[in-house]
Every structure is written in C-alpha cells, then in structure tokens.
C-alpha cells in the first residue's frame, strides 16, 4: 500500500509540487493524470526517493522506505529514457537486473522471461542502438521491471509505440496486475488508462484536483448526456422541460441533451414514452477524458 500524503517540492523559487496526496492499494493500478508541468514526474521521483519531499510523507505499507529497499522493491520507467546504445539487449536487461539486486542465475531467468514476454527474442544479441524505437522502448520496460518490483511506476509507457507494440505492453501490464504488482501509470492516452486503472488522481499546478475510482469521479460529475431517438418535436419538448437541460449538437436521428446528474431519469423516460415512440434512451456517463478535460479547465 502506497501512501503519498501532502507532499511538496520546491526548486529554488519554483514550487513544482504544492500539495499532492493519494493512496494506492497493493495490487491495484493507479493513473496519475495531469497536463505537462503539473508535477507528475516530480511526484513520481519523490515516491522513488530520487527527490526528498520538502514537506509531507511517502510510505509503503505504512513505513518510510530506505533508498536501497526502494530500488529493490520499486521499478521506474521514466518519460525521459534511453539505453546504452552499444550494449546488447540481453546484457542491458541483465545489467539493470543486477543494479536492482538480482544475482545469477535469477537475473538470467528473469531477463529471459521479459525478453519472451515482450517479443524481443530475435534481438537479444543486437546492440540496442540498432533496434527500432518501439523495440528500444520494450527493452526499457524490461529494464524497469526485470526485478519483478512490487510497485512499478511507468511514465508515458505507450508514447511512441505502434498499436501492435502498445497491445503487447498492455498485455504485459495486465499480466503484472494479475500477478499482484501495484502499478502507477501516467499517460495522455486516456482510453488505455481507463481500461487498465482502478483509481485515478488528476493534478494540475502541483495540486490534487480530483481523485478516486472512475465510478467515484463520475458520481461527482455534475451532468449527464441523454441520447434519445428518434429526434421528434415531442421528445424535444419533453427534454426542454427538464430543469437545467441544455441541448448539445443537433443530429437528424437523435437528440443529445445535457441534464443535471440528479435529474429524475425514470420520470423523464416515462414522459418521453408518453409523448411518442422512443427507440433509444441512454444516459451517457462521462469518459475519463471528459472528466480530465473538465477538471483541468476548471483549475
């Protein structure tokens, strides 16, 4: 269980992180979201002990973790990443395994497992500089995760990956999740996070803006969009009568209307049915992307 409590970090006169708190259950997958410069990377570096927070605490299973334990227990794929270009793929993964405390023959077994998992078998004896960007990124993931960390932090793990490689990485992360690894992900590809994560925290300007599971974030969302077919004048009149309703873009076949989240949906449906034929009635939940954009625009 990772607990980040009111952490703050200043660099001279620049306050990179003002006040960020969140709590991640062991074995869950957590999405840390925010625009560029929001303080996500600094927060991740504080979790990893690369930076010491100026205020607040970071605990793992209730206790502060020593740097050495962090390196053995945590894994990190930074957004700014590279490889030793002349080092061969297997050597590179094994080197990082050793840095994380693995010894022979464990390091060889774990490296082989990651090589197989990420489909790097054809490249093990090739210098990393000769690989495509996507394959280099897979090697970087293997380097970050070769020691099977309890907590794996991945900053923009999908950037630069083609759909096939993104699929391979998603499958690997799902495998880690099933094995009980706690994952922290930061990405601008919301649909991937929505698919993977159990809970989220949105930060801007170094502060928490929203956090919780997708259901909790949706519950706090102030409106819902009603999708009604067919788009008849009677249906439009019923929806116009709902307090706080706003019509969105017009479609010939359907009506889209934003209503307050607490609007009485069964009554609205009953009124629509009474007014004429209704072939489709749906209250659309906001997507993670909607919530994210709304949250950062409000901040």
């Amino acid at each position: 269980m990772l607990d980040v409590s009111h952490v703050r970090k200043d660099f001279g006169s620049v306050r990179a992180v003002r006040d960020v708190s969140f709590h991640i259950e062991t074995g869950s997958t957590f999405g840390l979201l925010g625009p560029n410069g929001a303080g996500k990377t600094t927060t991740m570096r504080m979790i990893l002990g690369i930076y010491a927070p100026d205020a607040g605490t970071v605990t793992w299973n209730g206790t502060a973790v020593s740097p050495a334990t962090r390196r053995r227990t945590f894994g990190y794929l930074p957004e700014e990443r590279g490889l030793y270009g002349k080092m061969k793929v297997r050597e590179q993964i094994e080197y990082f395994g050793r840095l994380h405390g693995l010894v022979d023959p464990q390091v060889r077994d774990r490296s082989d497992r990651w090589i197989e998992r990420l489909g790097l078998g054809d490249y093990i004896n090739r210098p990393c500089a000769e690989l495509s960007k996507g394959n280099q990124q897979k090697v970087q993931v293997a380097c970050a995760a070769v020691h099977d960390p309890q907590l794996l932090i991945l900053d923009e793990p999908f950037s630069g990956l083609d759909p096939v490689n993104a699929g391979i990485l998603l499958a690997s992360l799902a495998e880690l999740k099933n094995a009980g690894t706690t994952l922290v992900l930061s990405s601008h590809q919301m649909w991937q996070l929505e698919e993977l994560c159990d809970a989220f925290c949105i930060i801007t300007a170094g502060q928490n803006r929203a956090s919780g599971t997708l259901e909790q974030l949706r519950a706090a969302w102030p409106t819902r969009v009603l999708h009604v077919e067919p788009a008849t004048a009677a249906a439009r009149a019923v929806l116009a009568g709902v307090s706080g309703a706003t019509f969105l873009e017009d479609e010939q076949a359907a009506l889209h209307c934003e209503v307050p989240a607490d609007a009485p949906l069964p009554q609205i449906l009953k009124s629509l049915v009474a007014a004429g034929d209704v072939t489709h009635f749906e209250a659309i939940e906001p997507s993670l992307q909607d919530i994210y954009i709304e949250t950062i625009s409000r901040a």
Partner: protein, 404 residues
C-alpha cells in the same frame, strides 16, 4: 556494495571493449617510445645534420678533426683553403659551414664561414678545440693539456637528497617523465569520466539509472573502474618505458636518455609518491569532471564546457616542471598545498628535494579534505545535473538547486 561492484565491473567491460580505450593505450605506449627515443634521435640528427668542411693548415686540420668529430659531421677537408667561396662549402656535399684553421700568435686561429652564422655554437666549438689551442699556446702536448684541464672537482651532498650530481640528474629525468605520465593519466581519465557521464545524460539513460542505483554508487563505480584501468594503462606504459629505456641504455650514451633509462634505480619513495599523488589528483579531477559532465546536455559541449577546467592542471604541470629545477622557490612551496595543483608540484618537490615531513603531511591532509569536499559538492551537482535537461543551468540556479 553490490551496486558498486555491478557498476564497477560493467564500466570495466564497457571501457575495455571501447575503441577509444584501446587506441589510447596504444597511442600512449607509442608516445612513451617516441618520448624516450626522441632526445637521442634529435641529438644524433642535430650532430649529423651539422656538416662542416675543414680548411686551412693541413697539420691543424689533422689535429682538430678528432676533437670535432663527436659534435660535428665532418664531410671533408680542403687543406690550404683560406677564403672559401660558395663552391667550396658544397664541395663535399651540402655543408653548413667551412672551418678554417690557422696559427695565431697566441695559439689556434679559427674562422668559421657559415651559411647561417646564428647556427654556430661558439661555446661548443671552443670547448672541443681547447686542448689544441692550449697545446699550441704553451708548447705542451695535447695529452698534457688534457691532464691539466681536467681539474678535479669534488661534489659532496649537503642537505641534499642525492649522493651525486649524476643521481640528481637521473632523478630529474625520471621525475620529468613521471610528471608527464601523471598529467596524461589524470587528464585522459578524468576526461573519460566526463564523457561517460555526459553520454549517459545525453542518451537519456540517466533517469533510468538513478532509479535503479544510488547516484553515489554509480559515480564511485565509474571513478574506481576508470582508476583501475588507468593503473593498467600506467603499468603498460611504464613497462614499455623500462624496456625502451633499458635498450637505449645498452645502445646509447646520450645524457638525457641515460638518465631516463636509469629508471631501474627509481627510489621506492618516488614510486609510492607517484601512486599516492596520482590517486589524489585523479580523484579530485574525476569527481569535478563527473559533476561537469552531468551538466552537459549535448556531447559537442564537452570540449567547450570542460576545457577551462584543465587550466589549473596545465598550470600545475608548468609549476611542477619548474619545481624540478628550483624546488624551494616560494611559488613552488605555496602551490604544493593547493588542491588540483599540489599532486603535481608536491610530487616534483619530493622527487628532487628533501621536503620536510610536516609539509608533506599538511599537503596530504589539505588535498584529502579537498577530495571529500569535491565529492560532497560534485556528488550533489551530479545528482541534480543528471536530471536537468534543457539549457545548462546558470551558477545561481545551480546554487539554489544545491540548497534545495
């Protein structure tokens, strides 16, 4: 500790496999051979290239020829020639001068007709011809004159480290070579550290590394690996030096070569001093250069940013070579305590003079403290610099970041 060993062994393997290490090793060895051979070669070349024609009195030519033979390449003689022309100077191949001998009222008369009058070394010529001149002036035989001019001069050491002038000369020759070796090893290896750190920064592997290993273990592993390889380099170069020196000693009698070849008699204290001051100088420079390397964002900036930091080392080398001649000069004594400079200057002083023990101890204490200070400061800069991208930080920004 395991982290340190992992970084250390990976660095050793990576450096050994690198082309630059092998090229440096070979070029260094060739450089040593050239440096040891060059003085002898240049001496002989200079002697051989100064071709002269002897003219004038035939009997004087016959007596002067053996006296001049060791310093001049005598291409021929023209007995009876008094006023040579351009044709005479080239009569026996292209010569530099025609030396015309005559009897003077008080001994030997010598007139040199040279293409370049500035090239005539009158002192050397006078020394070579002195026995003949005195023999003519005094009516003694040349062998009697030689006996007379060999006035016995006895040199006894007083407050000196050396038992004889030959020993002192040999020590200076060895110290000169060792100083350059010290300079090469410190500069080359410190620069390699800087390049290696800058490459990790520019290849963006730095952040992946600092999350995997403590920055201090990473830095220590790099520096230690480089030190071990530097010692291997040094051992090879010294072995080459001994081999070439020994060969020169058996085959040549040139002064400078002989003094270098006398490296077999290097006192143990000098060897220990060399090792200690190498380690001190290397550690100071390596930590500083690692810190500088961590602030570099483009490999092409290595030269322009790192270059100015070599100035103290170049100054140190100049002062240290001066110290070989005047080890007790005030500037030499003062600089033998100053970090970055002391490793060269104090080593020089130790080799050629009897430095008071308290001065050695004080210099060591100051420089060891400096290593600690550099390690703390350099380690902090390294830790921050490795994660800083964009334009290199200003000094004020760096100070703020160090305080954070």
């Amino acid at each position: 500790m395991p982290e340190f060993i992992t970084v250390f062994s990976a660095e050793i393997v990576r450096r050994i496999k690198s082309r630059s290490f092998m090229i440096g090793l070979i070029v260094g060895a060739v450089g040593i051979i050239v440096m040891l051979r060059l003085p002898t070669y240049m001496d002989s070349f200079a002697n051989q290239s100064y071709r002269v024609v002897l003219g004038g009195d035939a009997s004087l030519i016959a007596q002067a020829r053996p006296l001049l033979a060791k310093d001049y390449n005598i291409s021929g003689s023209e007995p009876g020639l008094q006023h040579p022309t351009g044709a005479d100077i080239d009569a026996h191949g292209r010569a530099a001068a025609v030396i015309v001998f005559s009897r003077a009222p008080r001994g030997l008369g010598v007139t040199v007709y040279a293409r370049d009058p500035g090239s005539v070394n009158e002192t050397k010529m006078r020394r070579d011809l002195l026995p003949l001149h005195l023999a003519l002036a005094t009516n003694l035989t040349q062998s009697q004159v030689r006996t007379l001019v060999r006035m016995p001069i006895s040199v006894s050491p007083l407050e000196s480290k050396f038992g004889s002038a030959e020993q002192a000369d040999a020590a200076r020759g060895i110290a000169y070579v060792l100083l350059f070796l010290l300079y090469l090893l410190i500069v080359l290896n410190s620069q390699l550290i800087m390049t290696s750190v800058a490459e990790e920064k520019t290849s963006r592997i730095a952040e992946l590394l600092v999350a995997s290993v403590s920055p201090s273990a990473l830095l220590a592993g790099k520096i230690a690996a480089s030190a071990v390889l530097a010692i291997v380099q040094m051992a090879l170069w010294v072995a080459v030096g001994f081999a070439v020196g020994a060969q020169s000693m058996s085959g040549a009698s040139g002064g400078s070569t002989q003094s270098i070849a006398g490296a077999g008699s290097v006192p143990v204290s000098d060897v220990v001093g060399f090792a200690v001051f190498f380690l001190i100088g290397y550690l100071q420079m390596a930590v500083l250069f690692a810190a500088i390397g961590s602030l570099i964002n483009r490999t092409e900036d290595i030269g322009s940013i790192g270059g100015p930091f070599f100035i103290p080392v170049i100054a140190a080398l100049l002062i240290a070579t001066t110290a070989l001649a005047v080890p007790d000069a005030p500037l030499v004594i003062v600089t033998s305590f100053i970090p970055l400079i002391a490793p060269f200057v104090m080593f020089s002083r130790i080799v050629v003079s009897s430095v008071p023990l308290w001065q050695i101890a004080l210099s060591l204490a100051i420089n060891l403290a400096a290593i600690y200070a550099f390690a703390v400061l350099g380690g902090k800069i390294y830790r921050i610099g490795m994660l800083l991208y964009g334009r290199p930080p200003k000094i004020s920004q760096l100070i703020r970041a160090l305080r954070a």
